[in-house]
C-alpha cells in the first residue's frame, strides 16, 4: 500500500516540486545528553518572537510549559522515574532496569531515581498530514524538506490541528491561526543553524543533513547500547514508519509514551485516497438520494 501520502520518499523536496533541491535538513535530538536547561525553549521564543503564555506552577516536575503548542515550539519534558537500585560497587555504567519500572522502595536505599529530560519539537514529517489537509496553502514544504506554516496565509480553519498525529500544530487563542516550529526557515536559508540547536550547550539538539544525522544517531545508539543502556532507541528515524520517517527525530532512553510521544504514529492522511473514494461513493449516493427525493416530491 504505497502512495504519495505514505511510505518512504527518497527526496521529499523533489517530490514537492523543487528541482535540484539542497539536502534534506533536520534535527537529531539526543535526549541522553539533555540537561533540561530549557535554553532551546527560550532561544526559540527569542528568535521567532513567540509570546510567553506561562501559567501557574504545573506541579509536573520542572516542566511548566506543559506541551508543544502555538506558543511553545520547543518543549522540554521532565520525567521522574524510580528505577531499581544499581549495584553500588559495580563500577560499570549505571545499569538501568526495565524501562519505566516502578518499584515502591524504602527511602534512599532500595531504589534509584532517574530524571529524563527531552526537548520535543515538530517532527517535520516526510508525510506531513498537517500540510496535506491544509486548504489554504499556508502550510508548505520548503526546499530543505521541512514543513512551514505561513502566518499571513493561515485562515485559522484548524484542519491541521486534528490531522497532526503528534499533536504538535496548535491554534493561538486570539485569532485561531496556527503556529509551530519552522526549523528556523529564516536562519537555515542563510546558512545558520536553528536557534535552539545554536543555544543547546550539550549538543543534545543537533542540526544538519538528515542522512548525516541518521548515521550519527545509529553510531550513538550503538555506543549507548554497548554501555548497557538497554532502553535506548531511536524514534522517527525509520523511513518505513507510519509517517515515512521524520525530519526531526530523537534518541530516547525509554518507551516513547514515557515522553508523551505516540508509540506508532501514522500519518492521518494515509488512507486519504480510499477515504476520498468512499466519500465520493457516499456523495454519489447522496446525490442519487437527493435526486430521488426531488423526483419523489414531484411525483
Amino acid at each position: 500500500m504505497s502512495n504519495a501520502l505514505y511510505g518512504p520518499v527518497p527526496n521529499v523536496a523533489e517530490q514537492a516540486g523543487y528541482q535540484d533541491p539542497p539536502p534534506r535538513m533536520g534535527f537529531f535530538t539526543d535526549t541522553s545528553v539533555c540537561i533540561g536547561c530549557k535554553a532551546c525553549e527560550v532561544a526559540c521564543k527569542e528568535w521567532n518572537l513567540v509570546p510567553d503564555d506561562g501559567g501557574p506552577l504545573t506541579g509536573m516536575s520542572y516542566d511548566n510549559t506543559g506541551a508543544l503548542g502555538a506558543n511553545t515550539w520547543r518543549h522540554v519534558a521532565f520525567i521522574e522515574q524510580q528505577v531499581p537500585a544499581r549495584q553500588a560497587v559495580d563500577l560499570g555504567m549505571p545499569g538501568i532496569g526495565a524501562p519505566g519500572a516502578q518499584t515502591a522502595a524504602e527511602p534512599g536505599q532500595d531504589a534509584d531515581i532517574r530524571w529524563l529530560m527531552a526537548s520535543d519539537v515538530c517532527k517535520h514529517c516526510t508525510h506531513a498530514a498537517c500540510l496535506d489537509v491544509c486548504p489554504t496553502g499556508a502550510l508548505f514544504r520548503t526546499e530543505f524538506g521541512t514543513v512551514v506554516v505561513q502566518e499571513d496565509i493561515c485562515n485559522g480553519c484548524g484542519y491541521c490541528v486534528v490531522a497532526c498525529p503528534y499533536g504538535v500544530i496548535d491554534q493561538r487563542k486570539d485569532d485561531g491561526r496556527v503556529f509551530k516550529c519552522t526549523l528556523c526557515y529564516d536562519r537555515i536559508g542563510d546558512g545558520l543553524e536553528p536557534a535552539c540547536a545554536k543555544a543547546c550547550p550539550t549538543d543534545s539538539i543537533q542540526y544538519g543533513e538528515l542522512d548525516v544525522l541518521r548515521a550519527r544517531a545509529d553510531a550513538r545508539l550503538a555506543e549507548l547500547r554497548a554501555d548497557g543502556e538497554a532502553g535506548a532507541r531511536l524514534y522517527g528515524n525509520d523511513p518505513d514508519d507510519g509517517v515515512g520517517g521524520t525530519g526531526a527525530f530523537f534518541l530516547l532512553l525509554d518507551e516513547p509514551e514515557v515522553y508523551g510521544l505516540p508509540p506508532d504514529p501514522v500519518v492521518t492522511t494515509r488512507n486519504l485516497p480510499q477515504i476520498w473514494q468512499r466519500t465520493a461513493m457516499a456523495a454519489g449516493a447522496l446525490v442519487v438520494l437527493g435526486v430521488a427525493s426531488f423526483l419523489g416530491r414531484r411525483s
Binding site: I35, G54, L57, G59, N64, E80, A88, V89, L91, P107
Partner: protein, 853 residues
C-alpha cells in the same frame, strides 16, 4: 553544576563522552545528578564528615600518591610539640580562647620556624581587630585567607622535615590521627550515606587518580556557604594533594562562581579588606608606613617576597606623578581598616545607626542575602541608599512593599532613608571583561547602546569621580589630596563620552619607565619606575594588545588553547603546573605530560607557560638566607607558598583550625556524633534580635532546610523574574519535599506549604518528589526541605524569599553566611499581616524561646 552553570557543564558532558566518571554529591537530585554516574544524597552541612572519611580511606590504605605528596606537599613538615589536635581536646585545637571564641595559631606552627607567631600576618583585621591591636596582644594570628590570594600566608623560614613521613609530629601522621575517626560507619551516622555508596565513591576517586589519571573537584559556591565553608574546600584540597591532582591537567578544584565575573571581583576586588592582586588593605594601627606594610612579606621566600614592587606599582597607578619615593608613594592616601567591615557587620552598623550611607550595586540584599529582614531593617535605618541595577529590585522598594510593611514592623512614613535608583547598563551594552573560574579574562564588546538613562559602571564611577573632584577643586585641605591627586584622565569616546574600557585594562596591565605596556609582573619594580593597577593581571595588555580579546578557535591551536582570552598570571592555564612533572622534572606519565624540564636547553617547557622560575633546575637547592623567588628550590612546585609546598595542614592563616573538622551547622537536628564540641567554636556569631537561632535538636523545628538555585532564574531574581520567557519556565516559588515528608505533614503536590523558622515563616508551592530523598542518618530518618532562593515581591513572578528564613552565622575566615537551618513545614498558606508575627512567636513559645515582650 548543570543546574547553575549549564553552559560550563558542556565540558563535563564532553569529559563523560570520553569516559570520565561523574559523581555528584548534593542533598537534592538535580539536573547534574541526572547526568552523573553516581548521585550521593547528603545531609546538608555534613560535607567534612564525608570528605574527611575519604581522606581517612586514602591514608589508612596508603592510597596516596606518595612521591608527589613527599615532594610537593607539607606532609613531611614537623609541627611543634605544643600543638594539640581535636583528638586530644574533644573537637578543639590548641590555642582556643573561649572568651573571645577565637584561636591563637601560635601552637600550630612548624618546628624550626619558631618566629611564626610574630609574622605571617599580613592582615590582622578580624572581628575585633581594633580591640586586639589596642590590647597589644596578637589574639588572632590567622590572617584572612582571602588576603593570601593565590598563595598561603607566609611562614618564616623552612620547617624541619621527615621525608619518611614516620615522625609522630610530621603533618602526615597528624593528618592520619586527626581523620582516623572519620570512618564509613561515621559517614552513615553523620551524612546519611550508606557504606556501600561511600566505598563506591572512594573507589572511583582513587582509581582515577595517580600517574596516569587525574580527578577534578567542581563546586558551586553553596559549598562555601557554611559556618565551615573554607574548611569544606580545604578538605577537598587535602584530597587533591594526597592524590596528586593539583597542578596537573584534568585535576584541580574548580570554584564555579555565582555570577559571571566573581573571580574578577576578588582579583580586582570589591572586598573591603583587599587591594588589587590580593594585596591586603592596610590597617589603621599596624601599617603607618609602606615599609612596615611590606615588611611581613619582604623577608619571606617565594613570589610574595616582591610585595614592595607590587604595592609601589599600584600606588603609582593610582596617584601617578604625585607618588614618589619622598612621600612614601602616597601610601598614606590609602584608606585604612579599623575592623571588620564585611557585609553582615555593616548591616549591624546600619541597625546601630553608625553606617549611614550604602551603595547597592549589582546586588539585591533584600532577597539575596541571608536573613532578609535584617538587611531591610538595616537599609530602613540609613540616611541614604544608592541602588544601581537593571530593574526595580526589592532592595530599592523595600520601603513601600517589603514584608515588614505587610506585617507592620515598618511603616513607610517612618523610614527616613533617601533612596536613589540609578539604572544600569547590562554587559551587552558596554565593553569590558569577564574573569572566569580558570582566572581567564574574556573581553566582550558593546553590542547595543544602553537604553534611556542606563549607564555602565565605568561611566558612572568616572563621572562620580569627576564631579567630586570638581567640587573639591582648589581645596587646600590635606584630606582632599587623595582624591585630587588620582590619575583620572581616561579617554572618552562616543556621543555619551563613554570612558575607554581598554584604557582601563591597559592601566591595570601596567606600564614601564618608557610608558609602554609591560608584559610580565616580573618587570615590576619598587622604585616607582613602573605603574601597575593589578600585578597579577600584568601581561593582559602585552605588546600593546588586548590579549583578553583573543578568540582563536580551539581547532586552530594546541589543546591548551593559550590564544583564547588571557589567564592570570602570565597566561598560565594551570597554576602550579611544575607539579605536573616529577621531582626530577619528567612528566609523571606520557598521558598526563604538561610541563617538564628540558635539561639540554636548561629550561622548563611544555604545553602551558611553566609556573616556575624558567631556568631553575629540578635539583636546585637554595642557599641559606635566600629571599623572595631566589629561595624557591627546584622541587618547590607551589611557588606562591612561602615554603614552596601545598599545605595539607595550615600552620597559620585560618581562624578555625589547621585541619578541617566536622561540626554541626549552627542550627542542627543532631548532636555532633564526632566530638563533644557541637558547633564550629570560632564561627562568626551575629547577635541581634532579628537574628535568633532555632535551638538545636528542637522538636518544634524538626526538619533540615537548605536553599539553592534553579537554572531558570539567576540569584536574587532581578535579572530573570522580570523576563517573561524565564518567568514562565519557573512561574512560582516552590519547595521540594520527599513523598515521606509530604505524607507526614499532609503536603500535596502543587498545593501550598508554610515553612517556619525562628526568623519568620514563608509560603511556597509544593513539589513532592523522589528527587528529595529521605535520609537514614544512623537510626533515624532525616527529612530535608529544598528551597530555591530566587523570589521576592517584584517582577513578573513573585513569591516569598527563602533567605528570610536563613539565619546569619558566618564562616570566620571569609565572613560568608551559611545556608543550612532547621524548620517546620505545614500545609497551607502562611498568615498575613501582623498575624504572621504572632504565628512565628507561637513557634518560639513552643520551642521555649519566646521573645521578650
Amino acid at each position: 553544576m548543570a543546574e547553575c552553570h549549564p553552559v560550563g557543564f558542556q565540558w563535563v558532558m564532553e569529559a563523560k563522552a570520553r569516559g570520565a566518571k561523574i559523581v555528584h554529591v548534593d542533598p537534592r537530585f538535580t539536573r547534574t545528578s541526572a547526568m552523573a554516574d553516581v548521585h550521593v544524597p547528603i545531609r546538608a552541612g555534613s560535607d567534612i564528615a564525608f570528605l574527611g572519611a575519604l581522606v581517612n580511606h586514602i591514608l589508612t590504605r596508603a592510597l596516596d600518591f606518595r612521591e608527589y605528596v613527599v615532594a610537593y606537599t607539607n606532609a613531611a613538615a614537623i609541627v611543634t610539640e605544643d600543638f594539640q589536635d581535636t583528638e586530644e581536646l574533644d573537637g578543639l585545637f590548641s590555642g582556643f580562647d573561649p572568651e573571645s571564641n577565637s584561636y591563637s595559631a601560635h601552637t600550630w606552627r612548624y618546628e624550626g620556624a619558631e618566629a611564626a607567631a610574630a609574622a605571617g600576618q599580613r592582615d590582622p583585621s578580624q572581628t575585633g581587630a581594633e580591640e586586639m591591636a589596642a590590647a597589644g596582644k596578637a589574639a588572632r594570628e590567622g590572617g584572612q585567607p582571602e588576603t593570601a590570594g593565590s598563595g598561603g600566608p607566609s611562614v618564616p623560614g623552612k620547617p624541619e622535615r621527615d621525608e619518611t613521613l614516620q615522625h609522630p609530629r610530621c603533618v602526615y601522621q597528624i593528618l592520619k590521627r586527626h581523620f582516623a575517626r572519620y570512618t564509613p560507619e561515621m559517614v552513615e551516622q553523620v551524612c546519611g550515606i550508606s557504606r556501600e555508596q561511600f566505598a563506591e565513591v572512594a573507589d572511583i576517586l582513587t582509581t582515577n587518580s595517580g600517574r596516569e589519571r587525574t580527578a577534578a573537584f567542581c563546586y558551586a559556591v553553596g559549598w562555601t556557604q557554611h559556618s565551615v565553608g573554607v574548611q569544606n574546600i580545604r578538605t577537598a584540597a587535602i584530597l587533591q594533594q594526597l592524590l596528586g591532582n593539583m597542578g596537573r591537567p584534568g585535576g584541580g578544584i574548580m570554584a564555579l562562581r555565582g555570577h559571571a565575573s566573581i573571580q574578577g571581583s576578588t582579583d580586582i576586588p570589591t572586598l573591603y579588606n583587599l587591594l588589587p592582586g590580593y594585596i591586603p588593605m592596610p590597617h589603621a594601627h599596624q601599617h603607618q608606613d609602606l615599609e612596615s606594610f611590606v615588611a611581613a612579606d619582604a623577608g619571606t621566600t617565594g613570589y610574595w617576597g616582591n610585595m614592595a614592587a607590587y604595592t609601589v606599582s599600584l600606588l603609582k597607578s593610582y596617584w601617578g606623578d604625585a607618588a614618589s619615593a619622598d612621600n612614601d608613594f602616597c601610601f598614606d592616601y590609602l584608606p585604612r581598616l579599623t575592623g571588620d567591615h564585611s557585609t553582615y557587620p555593616t548591616v549591624l552598623a546600619q541597625l546601630e545607626g553608625t553606617c549611614k550611607g550604602y551603595f547597592v550595586v549589582g546586588e539585591n540584599p533584600a532577597v539575596g542575602s541571608a536573613n532578609g529582614k535584617m538587611q531591610r531593617l538595616g537599609m530602613a535605618n540609613l540616611e541614604w541608599l544608592v541602588v544601581r541595577d537593571f530593574t526595580m529590585i526589592e532592595s530599592a522598594t523595600f520601603w513601600k512593599d517589603g514584608p515588614e510593611i505587610e506585617t507592620g514592623e515598618l511603616r513607610t512614613e517612618d523610614i527616613g532613608t533617601e533612596v536613589f535608583f540609578l539604572p544600569a547598563a547590562s554587559h551587552v551594552e558596554k565593553d569590558g571583561s569577564f574573569t572566569n573560574t580558570q582566572r581567564m579574562l574574556q573581553w566582550h564588546y558593546k553590542a547595543v547602546e544602553p537604553p534611556g538613562d542606563c549607564q555602565s559602571e565605568l561611566k558612572f564611577y568616572h563621572e562620580l569621580g569627576k564631579r567630586i573632584r570638581a567640587k573639591l577643586a582648589g581645596s587646600n585641605d590635606e584630606r582632599d589630596r587623595p582624591v585630587l591627586d588620582l590619575t583620572w584622565d581616561y579617554p572618552e569616546h562616543g556621543p555619551d563620552r563613554e570612558p575607554s574600557a581598554e584604557a582601563v585594562l591597559r592601566e591595570i596591565n601596567g606600564t614601564g619607565p618608557d610608558g609602554a605596556a609591560l608584559s610580565s609582573y616580573t618587570a615590576l619594580a619598587d622604585d616607582g619606575s613602573t605603574a601597575c593597577g593589578c600585578w597579577i593581571y600584568c601581561g593582559v595588555f602585552a605588546d600593546e594588545l588586548n590579549q583578553a580579546a583573543r578568540r582563536k578557535p580551539g581547532r586552530e591551536q594546541s589543546w591548551v588553547a593559550p590564544e583564547w582570552g588571557w589567564a592570570w598570571p602570565s597566561n598560565r592555564r594551570i597554576l602550579y603546573n611544575r607539579a605536573s612533572a616529577d621531582p626530577d622534572g619528567r612528566p609523571w606519565s606520557e598521558r598526563k605530560a604538561y610541563v617538564w624540564w628540558d635539561a639540554d636547553a636548561g629550561t622548563w617547557t611544555g604545553h602551558d607557560v611553566p609556573d616556575f622560575v624558567a631556568d631553575r633546575p629540578p635539583d636546585y637547592v637554595p642557599p641559606d638566607g635566600a629571599r623572595g623567588p631566589d629561595a624557591i628550590g627546584g622541587q618547590d612546585a607551589f611557588i606562591m607558598q612561602s615554603d614552596g609546598k601545598a599545605w595539607l595542614y595550615a600552620p597559620i592563616g585560618l581562624a578555625d583550625g589547621p585541619l578541617p573538622t566536622h561540626y554541626e551547622p549552627p542550627e542542627s537536628i543532631l548532636e555532633n556524633p564526632l566530638y563533644g564540641t557541637q558547633h564550629s567554636p570560632a564561627r562568626g556569631r551575629i547577635v541581634h534580635p532579628a537574628n535568633p537561632l532555632n535551638p538545636d535538636q528542637s522538636e518544634v523545628y524538626p526538619y533540615v532546610f537548605t536553599s539553592y538555585r534553579l537554572t531558570e532564574h539567576h540569584t536574587a531574581g532581578g535579572m530573570t523574574r522580570t523576563l517573561p520567557y524565564l518567568s514562565e519556565l519557573q512561574p512560582e516559588m516552590f519547595c521540594e519535599v520527599s513523598p515521606r515528608l509530604a505524607a507526614e505533614r499532609g503536603l500535596v503536590n502543587g498545593g501550598w506549604a508554610t515553612i517556619v523558622t525562628n526568623r519568620t515563616a514563608i509560603e511556597a508551592r509544593v513539589l513532592v518528589t523522589e528527587r528529595v530523598r529521605t535520609l537514614r542518618v544512623g537510626d533515624r530518618k532525616v527529612e530535608q526541605v529544598g528551597l530555591p532562593y530566587h523570589w521576592g515581591v517584584n517582577g513578573i513572578t513573585v513569591g516569598d524569599s527563602s533567605n528570610d528564613l536563613v539565619h546569619v552565622t558566618l564562616d570566620p575566615n571569609s565572613h560568608i553566611q551559611g545556608k543550612v537551618g532547621t524548620c517546620d513545614i505545614r500545609p497551607g498558606r502562611r498568615p498575613t499581616g501582623p498575624a504572621l508575627l504572632e504565628y512565628v512567636e507561637g513557634y518560639r513559645r513552643r520551642a521555649g524561646i519566646a521573645s521578650e515582650a
